[in-house]
Symmetry: C2
Subunit: 459 residues, 2 copies
Amino acid sequence: MIKNLLFSFLILLSFNNYITAQQSDSAIIGNFYREALTSDEGYNNLRYLCKNIGHRVAGSIQSEYAVEWVYKTLSEMKLDTVYTQECMVRNWERGEREYCYFNSEMFGRKELNCCALGTSIGTGKDGIKANIVEVKSFEELQKLGRKNVEGKIVFFNNPAKQEFFNTFEAYGDAVGPRVHGAVEGARLGAIGIIIRSVTLAKYDFPHTGVMRYADSVTKIPAIAISTNDADLLSRYLKMDKSLEVYFRTTCEEFPEKVSHNVIGEIKGSVYPDEIIVVGGHLDSWDIGEGAHDDGAGVIHAMEVLRIYKALNIRPQHTIRFVAFMDEEIAQRGGRKYAEVVKQKNEKHIAALESDAGGTVPNGFIMEATDEQFNKISSFRNLLMPYGIYFFITGGSAVDIYYLKDLGFPRIGLMCDSQRYFDFHHSANDTFENIHPRELKLGGAALSSLVYLIDTYGVQ
Amino acid sequence: MIKNLLFSFLILLSFNNYITAQQSDSAIIGNFYREALTSDEGYNNLRYLCKNIGHRVAGSIQSEYAVEWVYKTLSEMKLDTVYTQECMVRNWERGEREYCYFNSEMFGRKELNCCALGTSIGTGKDGIKANIVEVKSFEELQKLGRKNVEGKIVFFNNPAKQEFFNTFEAYGDAVGPRVHGAVEGARLGAIGIIIRSVTLAKYDFPHTGVMRYADSVTKIPAIAISTNDADLLSRYLKMDKSLEVYFRTTCEEFPEKVSHNVIGEIKGSVYPDEIIVVGGHLDSWDIGEGAHDDGAGVIHAMEVLRIYKALNIRPQHTIRFVAFMDEEIAQRGGRKYAEVVKQKNEKHIAALESDAGGTVPNGFIMEATDEQFNKISSFRNLLMPYGIYFFITGGSAVDIYYLKDLGFPRIGLMCDSQRYFDFHHSANDTFENIHPRELKLGGAALSSLVYLIDTYGVQ
């Protein structure tokens, strides 16, 4: 395509009006991008994490292999400091492969692609079998009342809405039943719940994710089925309201275990005691390989260190990388990190985290004062040529949330969200679904913002 | 990931400061996006074009099936006008599957993944066999001179550079030998050329694309090999300079044929004689399915019509969709369209084309006066919430290029380029590599700009 315009695609030039005043920053950021795009080291690191270690739910043996591997990899980077930070984590195991089918006297038996929700209790080895009540919302469930729900399995079949441009909004809008469905079902006497996987994709992968119980409410087992199978089950239910569903899960929670955050630092040349922390979470769910969630984020943040070393740039403030443990279940790593920061009274300038996948980065979302937001947004014109255009408030990322109240901005890398929930929390979250250039751009974007914060501060 | 920020990912809201003055435009554009994202019609149309028709090089029987299918599909949309526009096209056929290997006395024989370049002559059924001279540039070739090149096959092994952020720039930088290599090689007595496929991906797909001969220079056959095989061949050449390459292609050019552009219109309610033209090119290369290049562009542009009809919006100016024929080889469709516009003295307001793939749209690149550019760029704040942030000059798209000198702006839809050249001109350009939501966003972006131009003009 487009022969005559190929040579004139000089996007960088067209932004010259923005950047003339900051030519040398622009050149340095250009170097960050060049280094990120021409090195395969981060991509190969992600391959190792996904393929040689694999999924790594907090408390698992793989999660500790991942801790060892990150520690070893940081050590080989000749950083100024590398250490681990102990934290206790919950220890939930999925157990045997889950099994689910429906049985209809009219239509026979059909197996459904399913997985237990994270931290769910198991059904016991005999499984559970009951009639189904399908609802789209908690309101609908309430209206049905105990008489229609008691002894049954509640099927929450609320599709994530395609009309949202940002799929994180679609996810937020649809995820309620996954988190709270078991409690709401149990309050009305349900014996289990099935949720429609929280994804915009129409396919056969079931998606897990954390769910919660309430102290005063009976714990009932919870599974997700794929969106294809949710549509199928719903269709069959319309034809045969008496059909029964069986499912069997053997997940179980064991006593808490010791795990670790992994930390590596390049000391600041001017302000060694003032820290810019940048991280991702090392744990993942226990299906797939945790490539997008959040292997990519860990690699993005490690790339900040690697790129600084490769370009031989010494930061003014200390850049601290943290691979956080246990984001998915109880955020024990993030909590521990914040606890230690407070104990030691460490001074932070800013906290950055990448936990929005390994697709093309397109901005930063932050929790910051107006002054901080304005300062950070002033970097926008330097990053626009690389497609970093969203500078917005409204959140950041989970692990750095616990640093709130310390007065410095918390910043999440935003990545294009269109494909993210095709992978998220499913067996489809594999290394093959990460594009090397898209991954590399995440590391470049994060490095560039760290550089600008290190150089100009946040207020 | 990111539980606490999911509900606060209210990107649209954060842009409210930009859009309060244009609330109703914002609402209308929201409707365009909702309609695009919640309908599968465009995606299913692309499936039909790719799977039931397949690739469709100009002059092929498939390209005429595609013309018939677009005509039929437009007719079913109950537009005001549907017609075809005849044009003569070149008629090049690839012939039998290409075959290439190298043979080394030291290392034996190895087959290479190859394809003929578009419009190349064939080798004849016996193929050609010769020693290889590897170069990275025309300059290097010139330095070698006739004594080192005569009777040999020139291997242009210049990798597309990863360091470019926009991969169209990497393509433009690397594509020279594909287009002009056969002429430059033949001038020094080479008997054939092999180029490294013009892609940033490292894999086994060879990439075709148009090449040119010069009247006064002997025509020699030209093929591309995959990037993996280019690396392999280069490695073996270093170890054995005497190795020989054989390749065989049976491509051939036949007399020109009649083909067609396909046109459909929604008449303007206020200015029926003033036209906003929006299109993509219906032809593709003859390997793969032409999904990204340019099935996606055709669907994007058809979506403009579909969305206007679905939302029951009557434009003020006539919206004219054109599926252009023969972009890849000689642009006979684009030339014919411009010729007829001039003959009939038709008044156009603007021309838009989508020919940058089916990935996430991120802007518009245009050829326009300063005044037009400023006017169109003033729409930016309305489109930023949907990730449309590049508004730049420097090109547009090939088919609408021939409308230059008529004084109205020509505008190309820009899409995220990171993955594009993984597909472009290769057997990897298939429907499976199009993401439904990403495709839909392209139609929404194009519709939104058409709406804004229809409402506010271009100057």
